[in-house]
Amino acid sequence: MSVSANTPALSLQAASVSFAAPGQPGGRYTAVADVSLTVGAGEFVSVVGPTGCGKSTLLNLAAGLLAPSSGTVSVFGQPLVGINRRAGYMFQADSLMPWRTALGNVMAGLEFHGTAPAQAREQADDWLRRVGLGAFGDRYPHQMSGGMRKRASLAQTLVLDPDIILMDEPFSALDIQTRQLMENEVLTLWSEKKKAVLFITHDLDEAIAMSDRVVVMSAGPASRPIGEFSIDLDRPRDVAEVRTTPRFIALHKAIWAVLRDEVLKGYTQQLQKA
C-alpha cells in the first residue's frame, strides 16, 4: 500500500499545544495534549472528533504554522522547523486570493517557488482541467460557486505536488451532492499519486469512506487520540456506494461507540460556555 513505509511521512510525538488565555484556570488553554500520531507515506488518515477538539490545531502543527508547546513534529524523519515545505494545506475557509483569477491562484505556489511563468501557466492549466475548471481559468473567486472555489483550492494545493496533503474539513461547506463528487475526485487523484493525507473532518461517514485509518479525538480541552481504527474496505471506493456495505456499517458502529460519548461531552461543554 505505501510507497516506502520505513519512515513515516508525518509523525507527531507527545505533542501538546497550549495558548495563553486570560480567564482560563492557570491562564492557559490547552488545545491538544500529548498527541502521538503518525501518517505513513501514501497513507490516508482521517481524524474525527467533536467540535472544538483541536482538530485544526493538529493540522496547523503538521503544517508548521504552529509550533508545539512540548513534544516533537517530524516530517520524513526530520524535525520540523518553520513551515512544512513538503506539505500542501487545504483550508476549511475560503483561502483563494480574491485578487487573482482561478488560474492565477493555481499558479501562485509555482510563482512563489520561482517556476518560469510559461511553465507555471501550463501546469496550472493542466490542473484546472483535472479538477474540472478548464473553462473557468479567468474567473475571479467571487464569480465562482463554493464548489468551484474548493476545486480551485484543490488544484492550487496539488499543483505543487506535495508529499503530504493536509485537509481541514475541506468540503464541510458544500452541499451533499457536490461533496460526494469532490470526495470521489480526491480519492481518484490520491490513488494516482499515493501521497500521505491527513484529513480532518467531523463527519464520520466521510472519514470511513475515504481513509485507510480513522483516529478519534477526545473532546477538548486537552484533547488527545482515544481510538484508532483500520479501515479495511476495498479500494477503489465510491463514497456513496461504500456506505451501504455491511463492513462499512460495522465499522461505523464500532467507531461511533467511541465517538458518541465524546460528542456528548463536547456538546455539554459548549452549552456550559454559552
Binding site: W99, G109, Y140
Partner: protein
Amino acid sequence: MWQALRPSPGNLRIWQAGLLLAIVGLWHVLTVPGMVPPLIFENDQQAAFFFGEPVKVAQRISRWFVQDGDIYGHLGITLLETGLAFVIGSASGLAVGLWLALKPMASALLEPYIKAMNSMPRIILAPIFSVWFGLGVGSKVALGVTLVFFIVFFNVYQGVKEVSPVILANARMLGASPRQLLRHVYLPSATSWVFSSLHTSVGLAFVGAVVGEYLGSASGVGYLIHQAEGVFDINTVMAGIVVLTAFALVLDASVGKIERHLMTWQPPGGASDKL
C-alpha cells in the same frame, strides 16, 4: 403624460441637467438688477453685489478660457500642486501604512503621535509651510500632502490589519517568502482600501492646493479668487469656484476610471467602503 416624464433611470440625466438649469435660472432671476423687485435688500443692486450674476460669471469664465486665455497658467499651477500632493501623499501613506502595519512594536510606539497629528486641524499648518517652503508651489504641495497622507495611511493600515489570516496562512503554505507575501498578499489586499480612500484624498489634495494659494501666493486659481475677493468682484470669485468644482469632478472621475480598471477582481457593490 406625467407617467412618461417623471424621474426614472432612463431620463435621469435629463432631470439632473434640468435641475441645474432651474438653479441657475433662479439665481439669474433673483440677482439681475431690476428683474424682480428687491425682496430682502434695500435696492436692486445689492443682490448682484452679494451673489454675483450667472451671465457675468459665464462671461468671466469665457474670458479666462477663450478671449484672454490667461487662466491656463494659474490652472496649471493649481493642478500641478494637486497632482504632486496627491502622488506624494498617497505613496508615502501607502509606504508608511504598510510598514507600520507589519511592525506592531513601531506602530504601538507611534500610535499616540499619529492620533494627535490626525486630530490636529492640519490646515493650520499652512502659515508654517509658507515660512518653510516659501510662497511658491512647495508650500501648497506640503499642505496637500499632510491632508492626503493620513487618509491613505489609515486606510492602508486598516487594510493590512484585516488581511484574512486564512489567505495569509495559505500563501505561506504555498511557499511565499516575506517579500512575496508583501507583494502578492498585503499589497493587493491594501489596494482596495487605498482606492476607497483615493476619492477623498484627491479632493483633499485640491483643498490643500487652493487653500494654500488663497493664504499666500502669486499664482493659481486660489490666488485669482483671493485677488477678486479683495476688490469685491464676486462674479470672479464665483467663476473661480465653478472652474475648481469642474476640475475636481474631472479628477474624481479619472480616479474612478483607474479604480474600475484595477479592481476588476472585486465583487460589484464595493465591499470595502470605510474611512
